[in-house]
């Protein structure tokens, strides 16, 4: 999976009606307009009528304003927020199975503890680690684990919420409707 930390990206937090087919409308819109999705996560929200999609979009392929406006045109889309990376709490979860022979196992567990990762499963020749954090943290541990031999890796894609404002927020709330 492409690392999300190192490319220019926009994060959209989109509130949609919780109805079937909404994901395909959103995905179809991105495909049709030629916007590249880096990652996408969908989940229910505190209100069961709505779901939240967190979509990370490759900025080079997608003019910020057009993405927002086109998303707004979808009838089941209630609200679109573009989260500035500095003003968002971004998290992603990764599961990674890495080769761990007797002689390397302790190095791997040590690495895991530095990254506050958890050992989820242990086999004779491999262990599975769960790590959560900002995408660049996941990139970093991935790089460090690569020499040991990564067997399998899965990331959830990013989820994000705006940081709570203690001072002036730079959240670009793209208001419901309107220019």
């Amino acid at each position: 999976m492409a690392a999300t930390g190192d490319i220019q990206h926009h994060i959209y937090s989109i509130t949609v009606e919780n109805k079937f087919g909404v994901l395909s409308r959103v995905a179809g819109l991105f495909a049709r307009r030629g916007f590249n999705i880096v990652s996408l996560a969908v989940s229910p929200t505190e209100d069961e009528r709505f779901s939240r999609m967190t979509i990370v979009v490759d900025a080079a392929s997608a003019p910020l304003e057009q993405v927002t406006k086109q998303l707004h045109k979808l009838i089941p889309v209630i609200k679109v927020m573009e989260l500035h990376p500095d003003d968002a709490v971004e998290r992603e979860l990764m599961l990674v199975t890495v080769k761990a022979e007797v002689d390397t196992r302790s190095q791997i567990t040590e690495l895991a503890s530095i990254f506050e990762a958890r050992i989820e499963d242990v086999g004779f020749e491999a262990i599975t680690i769960q790590v959560a954090g900002r995408p660049d943290k996941l990139d970093a541990i991935t790089d460090l684990l690569t020499p040991f031999g990564i067997v399998e890796l899965q990331r959830t894609g990013q989820i994000a919420l705006p940081k709570l404002s203690r001072s002036q927020q730079r959240l670009r709330a793209v208001k419901t409707r309107g220019a």
Binding site: V16, E17, G21, S24, R25, G28, R32, E65, Q66, K69, Q70, H72, K73, L74, I75, P76, V77, I78, T176, R177, G178, A179
Partner: protein
């Protein structure tokens, strides 16, 4: 009251004041065709579902009311995809009802199953798969609301057969709950003031009127704005008739085949006021070279149009009519406020004079010689001059479309119906039928190409059997003329698959076989009598086969991707003298 889903569907359409629908039945939609028998809604049985879709569009174009089409599942649904896309591109409100296989069978590759909602998602403003008959009135109400409000467009409701048979408790929703759909119709007042300010500084303004004017029923408001400001107007292909061609400030059509004055006025403007237009590539030519000195005021109900192609200096989201009315007020008060300001509202005399000179020096030209080959432009001129002023003209796509747009005098809104955004050959005949159904007291003339005509001509059978007396003028140049023109100009006259033959099919016999009057015209002197004869027939459709000169090309022309400054005039321009 207990109804079946099918009865509820028909009743819901009646609630929406639907008076006519275009369609063709089949397995999955059978339950809905039964209660239709007892309904007040007129149903017009088409010969191909594409025809149903274009008829619904023609009806909507001409009346402003949503057109309705109903077809079955699978192949019928795919047959109507082209009209949906056409309506999507041109923002035409149509509501399409499709049958679907029973809900439990969805996903099993059942007979005549296709993923209608999936296929039509990118070509509809919104679509619905009904999963419970109880939802039908709500969904129909939402469908009409979405189709006709904001930026209008096509919608589709897919109804599984078992849902149509399932009973429900009838109700009619008194409100609409679409939390994600709230079009902005009122322009921002500060933006409107800014727009007036910008207008007050302009020495070379042009109003760039698009189809949004017609959608918003803003033709009257536009006229008021023009008369208040003296700003000249270009009307795009989708806006022909939105401002009267006979008005001295009307410059006509801009774009790839626009007239010299319309194209060049935009190129040299210092201010463009885009009203319900979208900077389409057929208007702008090479975007980077389009109207280089112009500041832009852009008014559109769809926020996504603002800045999509060209960044406006003053963007205004709103309904064209409301915004123009506000602009009129803002301009009046700006004028009053800056009465003593020398720089504000400068005289436009110089600009008007320049425009008049261009109109004089670079008119549209052609020459019909006596005994020479019949010129398509001559046929259009004759039609224009021998039909009522409020005739509805419907065109296909190609050279004939451009000649129709260039040469007709559109003095009333909703008198030109054509396929602009998608450029759908085969649009004219069915769309003309739809327009005539919507406006039975008006004369409706389709100006079609021989290529286009062959794509949907069978709908003349529909017209003949339903007694919908449209008239069709085929500008029969025996070629896919517009493609031929490009091959002549840009492919060194290497003609590849563009020849059609002037008399295969025999259009007169074909017309007669379809229950129409067929007339053939080979020479210029036969044109007027043929038109008069056609005008006198009111009990069946008429087809005139005008055998026109295949060599004629549409000028002026801006080659695709080039700057509008590189406009090519008719090479014979200088030899024509004044016309």
């Amino acid at each position: 009251m207990q109804l079946t889903g099918a009865q509820a569907l028909i009743k819901s359409l009646e609630q929406e004041a639907v008076e006519v629908m275009f369609g063709l039945p089949g397995g999955a939609i059978l339950p809905v065709y039964d209660p239709l028998i007892d309904s007040s809604i007129r149903h017009i049985l088409v010969r191909h579902e594409q025809g149903a879709g274009h008829m619904a569009e023609g009806y909507a174009h001409a009346t402003g009311r949503p057109g309705v089409a109903m077809v079955t599942s699978g192949p019928a649904a795919t047959n109507i995809v082209t009209p949906l896309c056409d309506a999507y591109m041109d923002s035409i409100p149509i509501v399409v009802i499709t049958g679907q296989v029973p809900y439990a069978n969805i996903g099993t590759d059942a007979f005549q199953e296709c993923d209608t909602v999936g296929i039509t998602m990118p070509v509809t403003k919104h679509n619905w798969l009904v999963t419970d008959s109880q939802d039908i009135p709500r969904i129909v109400r939402e469908a009409f609301h979405v189709a006709t409000t904001g930026r209008p467009g096509p919608v589709l409701v897919d109804v599984p057969k078992d849902i149509a048979n399932q009973t429900m408790d009838w109700y009619w929703p008194d409100s609409i709950d679409l939390p994600g759909y709230k079009p902005t119709t009122k322009g921002h007042s500060k933006q409107i003031k800014d727009a007036a300010r910008l207008m007050s500084q302009s020495k070379r303004p042009v109003i760039y009127a698009g189809g949004g004017i017609l959608k918003a029923r803003a033709a009257e408001a536009l006229k008021e704005l023009v008369e208040l400001t003296g700003f000249p107007v270009v009307t795009t292909l989708m806006a022909r008739g939105a401002f009267p061609d006979d008005h001295e400030l009307c410059l006509g059509m801009p774009g790839m085949h626009g007239n010299y004055t319309a194209v060049t006025s935009m190129q040299q403007a210092d201010l463009l006021i885009a009203l319900g237009s979208r900077f389409d590539d057929r208007v702008t030519g090479k975007v980077g070279a389009f109207a280089p000195e112009a500041k832009i005021i852009h008014v559109d109900i769809d926020p996504a149009e603002l800045g999509k192609v060209r960044r406006p200096d003053v963007p205004i989201v709103g309904d064209c009519r409301r915004v123009i009315e506000e602009l009129v007020k803002a301009v009046s008060s700006d004028k009053a406020k800056h009465e003593d300001d020398e720089a504000a509202w400068p005289s436009l005399d110089e600009w008007h004079t320049r425009l008049k000179e261009w109109q004089r020096d670079f008119p549209l030209v052609y020459e019909q010689t006596e005994g020479g080959p019949l010129k398509p432009q001559f046929c259009v001129d004759q039609l224009r001059d021998h039909t009522p002023d409020d005739t509805i003209v419907v065109s296909g796509v190609g050279q004939h479309q451009m000649w129709a747009s260039q040469r007709w005098k559109f003095n009333h809104p909703y008198t030109f119906v054509n396929s602009g955004g998608l450029g759908t050959m085969g649009f004219a005949v069915p769309a003309a039928i739809g327009a005539k159904v919507g406006c039975p007291s008006r004369m409706v003339w389709a100006i079609d190409g021989d290529g286009c005509f062959q794509m949907t001509a069978q709908e003349l059978v529909t017209a003949a059997s339903e007694r919908i007396p449209i008239k069709v003028a085929i500008l029969n140049n025996a070629y896919l003329g517009m493609v031929r023109q490009w091959q002549e100009l840009f492919y060194e006259e290497r003609y590849s698959e563009v020849y059609l033959s002037p008399d295969l099919p025999d259009y007169v016999k074909w017309a007669e076989a379809m229950g129409c009057e067929g007339i053939r015209v080979d020479h210029a002197e036969e044109v007027e009598p043929a038109i008069e004869k056609a005008n006198a027939i009111d009990d069946r459709p008429v087809v005139i086969d005008f055998r026109t000169d295949y060599r004629e090309k549409v000028y002026p022309m801006v080659p695709a991707g080039h700057s509008n400054d590189e406009i090519i005039l008719d090479p014979a321009h200088d030899s024509f003298g004044e016309r």
